[in-house]
């Protein structure tokens, strides 16, 4: 009997509550003893594959009696979005975003929240069913947690799903500063096929003016740093799976204003759940892009049967451009030499840009303001990847080893797009001169 079968059988004895609880407790305790320092090593919780939060952590929960106890400390945090871009944010337990809270349906949790912020806060448990007084809405269901105070939230996890948590006092500021996190409740009884890899990705948007260090909570429409788990590519940790494994990706969105259509290359998946609950199999339809509205979660599943380095990103094109300025004149089609000639006589270091598109901007080695990554992407196996922001990779390998996380996929011969030879062009009747090398930036 495999572990899943064991758990299922234990579920039959759930009415007694004792055997199941003990098994669940043992497995839960065992799961919590494994750190997130080894992302490729699968952990379990309650018989389920534990959630891995790329670039993040899981909140340690300690059992006190029959209650799982955890502690969130709301505080200012210095955070690196990507190499070269740091921000003075607000988060939990020294991190941005807050640690993923993970437990099993039926557990009772007691979460202490200490406020080290300069203003009051609360925590709302987004999507969870709980006593009204634990809902965390400042002024409505509780008084705010004043700076220096510690509040206690306690409730039963009465339903499984992918949920979130965030402040419900001065949300505009505190969420814009990074105070969000994922809350995963595994079902008491597993549903559907076993998942081998379970990932949590919180999408978020920020406005960090180039050369500054502070997110602007007043921004309403011109966000310029988009993240998965508060990281922008190339700072995002890849999602790694072995070929044949079933992968679940839980997507959350607590962005201020924008929905995010998350597109996965190379695969079609099904949306198996929202933060409202599981989607019945009969209601699922295949997608390659899932729209995650702000204030929602979407869970997708698929089998990783195609090896490679697959891009996964928000399909809003500006959400994969780092710190893009939006007040620039359109330079496409302009003759750069005519513009540069006069401007350089006044500003010798001036260089015309953008007249042939903006693809190469990230590779240009020009002096820029400190603490900024304007238009920057990251290195790739073939060339510079001119994308940033809400962009990450799904790496599927035949076998997992120490190179899987940071190494590049080795393509089988003949499976990589490459320059067409003249013979090939001729053979296939493609027009002569198709290989002319034109254009490019100055």
């Amino acid at each position: 009997m495999d572990r899943r079968g064991f758990v299922r059988s234990m579920g039959l004895l759930a009415a007694s509550g004792v055997v199941f609880a003990r098994a669940t407790k043992a497995e839960a305790d065992e799961a919590r003893s494994v750190t997130d320092a080894e992302p490729l090593a699968r952990r379990t919780i309650g018989g389920h594959t534990a959630v891995h939060t790329p670039n993040g952590t899981t909140l340690p929960l300690r059992r006190v009696g029959n209650v799982l106890v955890g502690h969130l400390v709301a505080e200012p945090v210095s955070h690196e979005f990507a190499p070269g871009l740091e921000g003075e944010c607000w988060g939990y337990n020294g991190r941005v975003h807050g640690p993923t809270i993970e437990a099993v349906e039926g557990e009772r949790v007691r979460l202490y929240v200490t406020n080290h912020l300069p203003e009051p806060t609360t925590v709302h448990w987004h999507g969870l069913f709980l006593p009204n007084g634990m809902d965390g809405v400042a002024g409505l269901t509780q008084r705010p947690i004043e700076p220096g105070e510690t509040f206690k939230y306690e409730f039963d996890l009465t339903r499984p799903g992918t949920f979130m948590y965030h402040p419900h006092y001065d949300e505009m500021t505190q969420m814009a500063m990074g105070m969000v996190g994922m809350f995963i409740v595994h079902p008491r009884t597993a549903r559907g096929p076993r998942v081998d890899r379970d990932f949590a990705l919180m999408t978020h948007e920020w406005k960090i003016k180039v050369g500054t260090r502070r997110p602007d909570p007043n921004e309403m429409s011109d966000f310029n740093v988009l993240t998965f788990n508060a990281k922008a590519f190339p700072g995002t940790e890849a999602l790694v799976a072995r070929k044949g494994e079933r992968v679940r990706i839980r997507l959350g969105n607590l962005s201020a204003m924008d929905n995010h259509p998350i597109h996965l290359h190379g695969y079609a998946f099904e949306v198996t759940a929202t933060d409202g609950g599981p989607v019945p199999p009969s209601a699922r339809k295949p997608e390659t892009t899932v729209l995650v509205p702000t204030g929602s979660t979407r869970t997708v599943e698929f089998v990783a049967d195609a090896p490679g380095d697959w891009a996964m990103h928000c399909h809003m094109t500006h959400h994969v451009m780092m710190q893009m300025g939006h007040g620039l004149p359109v330079m496409i089609g302009a003759d750069p030499a005519r513009i540069s000639r006069r401007v350089r006589s006044l500003v010798p270091d001036y260089m015309a840009m953008g007249h042939a598109g903006m693809g190469g901007m990230g590779e240009m080695d020009m002096p820029i303001p400190p603490n900024s990554r304007p238009m920057r992407g990251g290195p790739g196996p073939f060339s510079y990847i001119d994308m940033g922001g809400m962009f990450t990779l799904l790496k599927v390998r035949e076998r997992l080893d120490e190179t899987s996380q940071n190494g590049w996929y080795e393509h089988p011969a003949g499976t990589v797009a490459s320059l067409a030879s003249n013979e090939e062009l001729l053979r296939d009747g493609i027009a002569a001169g198709a290989n002319d090398n034109r254009g490019g930036n100055e």
């Binding site: 050369g211 007040g327 330079m331 302009a334 513009i339 006044l346 500003v347 001036y350 820029i368």
Partner: protein, 464 residues
């Protein structure tokens, strides 16, 4: 005894010298900072002085070279210096004894015989008053010397101010041309983008308007520069090929100030206007004394008369005539001179007040301009340079476009123009302060000179 000596001296007519050169030398001594620069042109020295002027003009002009040229070549100054000769001539005239007067008459008798009568006379009263008249004339010469020095110093100050104004305009023109290049670059970029279909017609004409405005400003500064050059030529007193002088001077940073303690006392002591005033007061006082004496003394003429008698013998004897100051004792003239004297005293006090106020004003303007120049040079210009550098970084980061980058450059140029205008303000004020401390009198109703460059034109940029 004194009268005898005076009479003797007057009779001889040689003690009172017509040496105007000594007066010029005295004028030089009142302006030691100018060295031997002041010279009264004489035909015998014209070639020599013209040679000196040509030598000075061979080298690039600076403020001090311009001053030396003006002192030698400015004909208005030469005309002012001629006043020394006028005063000297008046002194000489006042020092001369009256001429002897001769008269002759003939009496023709009915028989045709002629009897002659001759007489010779000498105005004794006038001779006795020669000393007083000369004394008044000497005081007048003293006043004329002070006035000539004042005229020279006024010219020096005006030359310096005109030179600084010219330099400021030259530098303003350079900046205006660079600003025009910035507008041209913006307009060029807009035209290129317009051809590519990337900006509107409105954007294009907005930038064109800004560029054309900048061209106009350059033209305005050009003509102002030419005008300033001609104004300087007038002060230099040059024309023809001499007016084609060149300069590579720039408005320099403020130089060390003279000690500012007891400035007012320094200015009062040095004031040529007050020296002239003292001379005039003394001259009027002595003239009043002379008038009183003339009024009190009977007008006496002494002489000799000779008369031919019928027997052809001659009778010779002394003659004397006298007017008794009974009704006309020069009361009106004395009163008029007394009023003139009182007026001169009042004028002297008013001038002293004006000298003190001008000194304080000049000091305040110099200190204020110096502080502003220091602030511009030490803070504002570096900050504007930093704005341009940071703008380039933001441009490289694609946060701003080329138009905003060029605006940062234009803002830097505007700051530079303010710096030049303030630097000119300093040197204009410094010329006045230096002049005041050497004795310059600042006319009460004359505004401070400048090139009018204190407010830089803000030409609006394009609509980007």
């Amino acid at each position: 005894m004194r009268i005898s000596a005076a009479l003797l001296c007057a009779a001889l007519g040689g003690c009172v010298s017509s040496n105007v050169a000594r007066d010029v030398s005295d004028v030089r001594s009142r302006l030691p900072a100018l060295g031997d620069g002041i010279a009264l042109r004489e035909e015998s020295r014209d070639t020599e002085l013209d040679g000196q002027i040509a030598t000075l003009l061979r080298e690039p002009l600076d403020a001090e070279r311009a001053v030396r040229i003006a002192l030698l070549s400015n004909r208005d100054l030469q005309a002012d210096l001629r006043a020394l000769g006028v005063a000297r001539g008046m002194l000489l005239q006042a020092s001369l004894l009256p001429n002897l007067e001769f008269d002759a008459s003939a009496r023709i008798a009915p028989g045709g015989s002629v009897r002659w009568e001759f007489g010779a006379g000498f105005d004794l009263t006038r001779a006795m008053l020669t000393g007083l008249a000369r004394s008044a004339g000497e005081a007048n010469v003293e006043a004329a010397r002070a006035r000539a020095a004042s005229d020279a110093l006024s010219l020096v100050t005006r030359v310096r101010q005109a030179f600084y104004a010219y330099l400021a305009l030259v530098q303003r023109k350079e900046l205006a041309e660079t600003a025009m290049q910035a507008f041209a670059a913006s307009y060029d970029a807009t035209r290129v983008l317009h051809e590519a279909g990337n900006v509107t017609d409105l954007d294009l004409v907005n930038d064109q308007a800004a560029y054309e405005g900048a061209r106009l400003e350059v033209a305005e500064v050009e003509i102002a520069t030419l005008d300033a050059r001609e104004a300087l030529n007038v002060l230099l007193g040059v024309s023809g090929e001499h007016a084609a002088w060149r300069t590579d001077a720039r408005l320099s940073a403020p130089s060390e100030l003279p000690p500012l303690e007891s400035l007012e006392q320094q200015a009062i002591s040095a004031s040529l206007r007050l020296a002239e005033g003292r001379g005039r007061i003394e001259s009027l006082a002595r003239s009043r004394g002379l008038a009183r004496a003339e009024g009190l003394l009977p007008h006496i003429e002494i002489g000799v008369t000779a008369e031919e008698h019928e027997d052809s013998s001659w009778v010779v004897g002394p003659a004397i005539s006298a007017s008794v100051p009974l009704f006309d004792r020069q009361q009106g003239r004395v009163l008029a001179l007394a009023s003139e004297l009182d007026a001169a005293r009042d004028r002297y006090v008013a001038d002293a007040i004006a000298v003190r106020a001008a000194t304080r004003k000049a000091r305040n303007r110099v200190l204020s301009a110096e502080a502003r120049v220091a602030h511009l040079h030490g803070t504002i210009l570096p900050v504007r340079q930093r704005v341009l550098a940071e703008s380039l970084l933001q441009y490289n980061a694609m946060q701003i476009g080329v138009f905003q980058l060029l605006q940062a450059k234009r803002d830097q140029l505007d700051a530079a123009r303010t710096y030049i205008a303030t630097l000119e303000e300093y040197w204009q004020a410094r010329a006045v302060l230096d002049g005041v401390l050497q004795g310059l009198f600042v006319e009460r109703d004359v505004a401070p000179r400048s090139s009018g460059a204190n407010v830089s034109r803000q030409v609006s940029g394009g609509g980007h």
